[in-house]
């Protein structure tokens, strides 16, 4: 989640209150305080609230929450007379453009840093790493309108930001740090997105890099904003958030004519919500007037519309308001979570454990009763441990991860026994005897099922010991089985047996083959068993 840097002085000026009040109350609008520094505070906001990604936006919300200023701010937009043309050739590349002119900005170094911070946070939360939306801000006075957003040949050259020499767009992807970072977004396109002015000067190569020419500095007075992307809704969220933040800092917003459509409008949307639905969802009692008052605190425009409804004016920057319940949450925040009367509902229900859990509980009880200690190894493992070290053929149903994170964990276990022998290896230095068991999920293909395995390591561990345990387990699980000689290569010939239930192999036990023992770097005899719990036809009834 984005970390937003809030300089105290700027925040105090914008909010009109002292820093301590802000630090105390900011968590209650949903911020996590990361660090409190000498001159600023770093906070983390939720990704659905891009309007809180700037100092201006936080000040706006805090003013309401602290009762300093309520209701919705007005964001007037006048036409700039500047126009933008969009090349239809971009339809399959990066079709959407949002723009605005922002005049009379006063950019200190700090304000530029804040603007860049907002831009980065929007790139992350709304732009999905610039793929969905990329934002460019330009010094309007260095270029000549009208502007053209076009699909340009890949060898078109210009001087990219922070460079002094011209490079083609292809070269930028190879050599410019931002080009390298974001090349994957455009690499496969035949032509690249480009923004130029009336005199063919390059403003930007979205979503990669701006031109050096239009770089914003402390001397910049007027800004041209471009937001390009693959989805118009997301593009406009970015435009609205940047415009309203700068407007709250004192700038004036002017619209740009994009192929005949003026933008942005910065007009709020209107929702009429039910007081009763809100009260039922939250479990509180409010009149329409009270509910409207809470919403004004949260910086909505809100008026009671009779007894049963509230008409809510939603600011254009509130990207998170998708549903009436989103508005009810803001009522709850203003009401104060600490003021809710937490209570249990009165209806009666009975609890019931899941049959699979009951089965596993029963097996755990039996195994502990037989003197085994439970282990809970990972279910992710690799084929070396599962098959190679056990001298077994790979299970054709083994489920492989598409992109494992390490060589140790590449597949889901089909058996538990190898994990348990690996646990013995981890505990090699611990006193013997060690008698361990594990129970839990295995996966074959798409199916999840359960197995139980047990091992015993000590100088006298042998077939008889594990036979007695397997026999006891099957008896206590109340499953009739037959024991046959096994051919499982993980065990010593003549000291291994299969457990057959209804003629189907369902388990195995015996003395581990010394080559297996050595493969796990152990040096004492190990007897072991494993049973597939799918043999429990009728799971215990409840």
């Amino acid at each position: 989640m984005p970390i937003i840097k809030l300089p105290y002085e700027y925040l105090e000026t914008l909010t009109g209150t002292d820093r301590d009040t802000i630090i105390n109350r900011v968590p209650m609008i949903g911020a996590d305080i990361e660090r409190i520094e000498e001159d600023h505070i770093d906070v983390e906001f939720f990704p659905d609230r891009p309007d809180l990604f700037s100092t201006e936006g936080v000040a706006r919300a805090m003013q309401g929450f602290l009762g300093l200023r309520e209701g919705i701010n007005d964001y007037p937009v006048t036409p700039s007379g500047i126009s933008f043309r969009v090349d239809p050739g971009l339809a399959t590349i990066r079709p959407f453009l949002g723009s605005a002119v922002i005049r009379n900005v006063s950019l200190t170094e700090e304000a530029i840093e804040s603007l860049m911070g907002l831009q980065e946070a929007l790139h992350w939360a709304v732009g999905r790493g610039r793929g969905k939306v990329a934002i460019g801000v330009h010094d309007l006075d260095t270029v000549t309108p009208p502007f053209y957003y076009q699909a340009a040949p890949r060898d078109r050259a210009f001087v990219p930001l922070d460079f002094t020499e011209e490079m083609t767009m292809e070269e930028i992807l190879d050599r410019h740090p931002k080009g390298v970072d974001y090349a994957h977004l455009v690499r496969d396109c035949e032509r690249f997105p480009l923004i130029t002015d009336a005199e063919d000067n390059v403003l930007s190569f979205p979503p990669i890099i701006n031109g050096e020419r239009t770089k914003v500095t402390t001397a910049t007075k007027n800004i041209l904003l471009d937001c390009t992307g693959t989805e118009i809704k997301a593009v406009m969220i970015a435009v609205n958030n940047i415009c309203t933040a700068l407007a709250d800092a004192g700038a004036t917003i002017e619209s740009v004519d994009v192929d005949g459509t003026p933008m942005p409008s910065l007009a709020p949307s209107v929702r009429t919500v039910s007081v009763d639905e809100c009260c039922r969802l939250l479990g509180i009692s409010l009149s329409a007037e009270e509910m409207a008052a809470h919403l004004r605190v949260m910086r909505f425009g809100a008026v009671a519309d009779g007894e049963k409804q509230v008409q809510v004016t939603v600011p254009c920057y509130r990207a998170d308001i998708m549903h009436d319940w989103d508005i009810f949450e803001d009522v709850a925040i203003s009401y104060g979570f600490e003021n809710f009367d937490a209570a249990l509902p009165e209806s009666f229900t009975t609890g019931k454990p899941h049959p699979v859990m009951v089965l596993m509980d029963g097996v755990r009880e039996i195994m502990a009763g037989l003197g085994f200690l439970e282990m809970m190894p990972f279910t992710l493992t690799n084929e070396r441990v599962l098959y190679t070290a056990m001298q077994r053929e790979p299970n054709p149903g083994v489920l492989r991860l598409q992109r494992p994170i390490s060589e140790e964990q590449t597949v889901m276990r089909t058996d538990i026994l190898p994990m348990l022998v690996e646990t013995l290896q981890i505990n090699h230095h611990r006193e013997l005897p060690q008698r361990l068991f594990a129970i839990g999920d295995c996966v074959e293909g798409r199916e999840t099922f359960q197995k139980v395995a047990a091992v015993s390591i000590h100088t006298e561990a042998d077939f008889s010991e594990i036979y007695a345990c397997a026999d006891a387990l099957m008896r206590e699980m109340h499953i009739r089985c037959e024991i046959e000689e096994s051919a499982d290569p993980a065990f010593i010939p003549g000291r291994r047996a299969d457990i057959m239930v209804d003629g189907k192999k369902t388990g195995v036990f015996g003395e581990l083959n010394p080559d297996v023992i050595r493969a796990f770097e152990l040096d004492a005899p190990v007897c072991a068993m494993e049973i597939d719990l799918r043999c429990v036809q009728e799971r215990p009834c409840l």
């Binding site: 039922r280 998708m322 509902p345 009975t350 609890g351 755990r364 990972f378 992109r403 611990r430």
Partner: protein
Amino acid sequence: MAELTYNEKRLMVVLNTIKEATPEIIAGELNTTAAAVVQFAHLCAEKGIATLDRTITVSYTLTTEGEQYATLGLPERQVYASFQNEISMKDMQAHPLARIAIGWMKKKGWVTIEKGLVKKTGDAPEGADEVALRDPDANREGVPELVKRGLAEETETTAYTIAITAAGQELVKGGLDLREEVGTLTREQILSGDWKNLNLRRYSVDKLPKRIIPGKIHPYQRLIDEMRSVLLEMGFVEMYGDVVQSSFWNFDALFQPQDHPAREMQDTFFLDGTTPLPEGWERVRDIHEHGGTTSSVGWGGIWDPAKAQTNVLRTHTTGLSIQYLKDHPDESVKAFCIGRVYRREAIDPTHTPEFEQLEGIVMDKDVSFRHLMGFLKEFYGRMGFENVRFRPAYFPYTEPSVEPEVYVDGLGWVELGGAGIFREEVTDPWGVKYPVLAWGLGVSRVAMLKMGLRDLRQLYRSDVDWIRDTPMMQGGRD
């Protein structure tokens, strides 16, 4: 006074007759070893009925080399005797002991050496060392020198004297039960009642028993079971489900947009293979694209059915909750699940790619946000976290959302899980009748708080000694 053992009694009887003796003598009487007698006497001495005096005697014996010189004389004596008044250094060195002897002859002042010539100074009288060499025990003066030269050895001999005390005599006078001790009861003795006349061997309670470890359920499983019983007691039905899930149930049905970062390859384990979409999937598509029949506007854009069919290792158990609600849309539902979930994270002390998640849902007429808070307080209270507070939060599939924090001594307020009411976008496609309260938490986080665990790996790659040493009962829930 503690009861005497059979052997102690026998010792006391002998002592009462002879009053004082060495262990060897008593051993003869008792037909045992002297070492055993010392042991019995020691126990009697602790009880004040006998005394055990220890005398350590030091004696000296010659080493093999010492024995040899005792016969032939010390090397310096042998060499001294081998020449007249003087001898050249060169000639003297022909003697096999010359190398040892020359230093000692000089040190003892028997000779002077000048310009390669060894001259006797006088008679070379017999020294204390030579006297000691004849009988080191009788002539102690020269012994230290011999010990230093490795010609004699010190031996310590411990001698014991055992005597009876007045209290001991009093005790024996009072009479002792001298029946032989019995270790194991037999069936016959129990049936016949003879056991009453037996002298059963007494055990010392001071001696520690052999340490045995019972078979045990894993401490972490016990914590999971504790949570399960809390929820079962609160009237919840347990859910269980597959580890492999389609993206549809893991993400789409929970209103996660298809371009959400959590759905990218670096966060989720994607699998080969797909699962067909369930009946009613079109309603989920509509919700995503435009909000369906709810007051939602949806995410917009085009929802891709192919993306929803991709299989993943479940990243949470919430996919099970929504499937459970789909199957029980009308009745009141209280259900929970504790299951392993998977995230594409590298292993370190606080992260593992698989871990347990607890999840609970409540669907009922008239349940509300304040009841969600009620459930959270009740659950955490029963888990031993008495102080709970709530903060605003954001989760993609709940609205309103809340983050519970519990107060932990020494740590302060600790965030523990997340909760909220399922968004209508999540429940509407399945005709779920009432609001659904939902909460979840990482079970391993509770393990860290309640078991004082520092490293999550200990749960899955356990040190067997940790299991052995962790008591079955921990206090836990009060």
